[in-house]
Symmetry: C2
């Protein structure tokens, strides 16, 4: 198999996860084994760094920094929310990407991200092919939301799942201890359109007494009346109620139950910013069910909780990075690495596969009906079987003498600019 | 030394912590060694359970349940927010407590809680002495707020400190990764009047780059104008801002910056309920500093984070429980166990002491001026030296085959009621 000889670049995009850096470490470790790959570069803040020609040399990082990425959360290269549109509309951007790649003889583009990033990688590769520039683009799946098509699950999900389930268990113990006054708690977790994260908290419920008692996902139509009835029923039975909600709950008309208003109501992709579901439902409980309610909004801490990340997830994220490089060396182009669960095997076993970037870019995987109970307020055993293997094992975290985790920050030795100037 | 022979009761009060159960385990393990203590009882939901004569036998719990309390967060006996007033106003309550104690020959009352609980224990003991009933009341310090007088620090604080510092570190990495769009994050932590918890997040900042960059405590007057200027200055220097706020920020007139409104605006003690500081400041940042801001509200999950609790804290909480029993056996009365830090010793070493319950009941320990920087927006090195030893070591948590912590729930074999009926 003939593959081009040149440099590779790795970039990260979208919301950080506990394990996306492990994927980068996998890329760097594997890439350094192949003579076709001459230099290993990083893009500062995803595709934004490519456009601005803000590129640094990962080969000159102290080796402890690269191995340290396996146990460092967030996005050590820097991430972005810069969305490229189709080849026609955003042609100048795609051309600029290739201009920068050419200037640095970048022949391999490893992009870790969600479906928008897969779309970017796909279109960049297509324009390269059109214009005769030999470029291999391989995607690495990353999203806590677990909503990418073509893969059994996404690196990042297992860790957020383990953490939010643990938080539900622990905050649930609080509600259990103080039920005579603080009867109800609402825990709000991330998940704009897919309820995978909210569903994961159900793993904490080993018996009826355990929290959470009610889980509401964006996939099930949310009704305030039904919600209040559910809450009252649980309180009557157990004396307390612990509720988990995904941030993107929608009513029967498909409208978000809450939307933010004001200058920052949309993110830079034009997505509506959600927030305040928990606070709103706290008020609903207090006014309509008639007992005190607290709420917890985990925000960005949930997707970076490396201190209690899933060892399975960390390992799979590294595997995806290594596999991306191996696929490129095997002559694959325009693919995303996928995680494939072995069927007919009681013991969880996971290997990798490949899917076309375009198939991933245009897909979205919501929580299927068989994972949600008939009442639309909890998970099923089928979901438990799916999710439980993903949260097994505790990531190996280095703790400093000061009692806190030791995470790395890359030195990022920037490359000299070679392409013409450019502004975003 | 002659001490009474009879049963002991242990109770928990107020907000749960990661380690208050470790104190109970310490009491039970030590009490079982002394022949003067015939039975070991627990009160369901603190003093509320005494008043209602809801008492259970801790001696009949499976032994794994008692040892498991060392690694189970929240309040396994159940807690309450029932406040007794002075002996005159609440005399009927205090008499009822003694009535129940007499009915079960309870001669030792171990109460783990904050200053309200120490007050209850103190007054109960005083009424017992007045009426000639031999009762030994010993308090066990417990509060994440770390605001109890007479003790160097409080069990519960080290664990919440370790956890919130870790969250600040991790969520800070998120802000660092996404600063080009999500420039600012506000993390809201507990602490109504004392900023010990917010201050602890400063431990995560090992260098200037690290989060958090700004910390606001209730002890320093909060000014919106100064806040906006601080935020702009950090953003100009680092390109991002990570802010921590205690929930009880007050303006120059001593008024809370935010207070909740509505039916549940006060808790059952009449304390004003605080909330929404982070959400309010997010809006301030977006409107007045002009960049996007996210917020995290940890709520009750912070005080129950046994999955990353401080081993030092867990050990000291157990020590306080054992010491309470030993003090009672040594003839001490009306005392709370305190933690005493050895001075003139570079290596942290902590032993126990005793303080009068009444001294603890009437005191409150705020973060002293030497722990807050001149600008009122960060901690000093003196605070770091104070707090860092308290978060060292990771608690030993049992993880199940399902990848989640295993916490115990007591069986609570209830005693038959012997006192006359009573309603709260």
């Amino acid at each position: 198999m003939s593959v081009p000889k040149g440099n590779c670049i790795v970039a990260q995009s979208g919301g950080p996860t506990a394990v996306i850096n492990a994927s980068v470490a996998g890329v760097v470790e594997e890439a350094s084994k192949h003579s076709a790959i001459t230099g290993i570069y990083g893009a500062l803040n995803g595709i934004r760094g490519v456009l601005l020609e803000e590129i640094f040399d990962l080969g000159t990082e102290p080796s402890g920094n690269i191995s340290g990425l396996h146990r460092t959360p967030a996005a050590a290269l820097g991430s972005c929310r810069y969305k490229l549109k189709d080849l026609e509309t955003s042609r100048a951007d795609y051309e600029r990407i290739l201009e920068v790649f050419k200037a640095h003889n970048i022949r391999y583009f490893f992009y870790a991200g969600g479906n928008d990033s897969m779309d970017t990688a796909d279109k960049t590769a297509k324009l390269a092919a059109e214009t005769g520039y030999e470029l291999v683009a391989i995607g690495i799946p990353k999203t806590i939301d677990n909503d990418l098509a073509c893969t059994d699950h996404c690196p990042g999900y297992g860790s957020v799942a383990k953490y939010v389930a643990t938080v539900a268990m622990e905050a649930g113990k609080d509600t259990e201890a103080l039920y005579t006054t603080d009867t109800c708690t609402v825990l709000e977790v991330m998940g704009r359109n897919a309820g995978w994260i909210a569903a994961a908290t159900g793993l904490a419920r080993r018996c009826e007494q355990d929290a959470p008692h009610l889980i509401y996902l964006p996939e099930a139509v949310f009704s305030i009346e039904k919600f209040v009835a559910d809450v009252k029923a649980v309180q009557a039975k157990l004396g307390r109620v612990f509720i988990v909600v995904g941030e993107g709950l929608k009513d029967k008309n498909g409208n978000y139950v809450t939307t933010q208003v004001g200058d920052f109501a949309k993110d830079s992709f034009g997505h509506v910013q959600l927030g305040g579901v928990a606070e709103m439902l706290k008020n609903v409980v207090e006014l309509q069910a008639g007992f005190k309610c607290r709420y917890v909004k985990l925000g960005t801490c949930q997707r970076n909780a490396m201190h209690f990340a899933s060892a399975t997830d960390v390992a799979e994220a590294g595997l995806c990075g290594r596999t991306a490089v191996k696929a490129a060396m095997a002559g694959e182009v325009g693919k995303m690495v996928t995680l494939v669960r072995e069927q007919n095997n009681k013991k969880y076993k996971c290997s990798t596969g490949l899917a076309a970037l375009s198939d991933v870019a245009n897909g979205e995987k919501k929580v299927p009906a068989e994972f949600i109970n008939k009442d639309g307020n909890f998970i099923t055993d089928a979901f438990r079987e799916y999710a439980e293997p993903l949260i097994r094992g505790e990531a190996d975290v280095q703790i400093g003498d000061d009692g806190l985790p030791v995470y790395v920050r890359l030195e990022k030795h920037m490359l000299e600019k070679k392409a013409a100037g450019y502004r975003l």
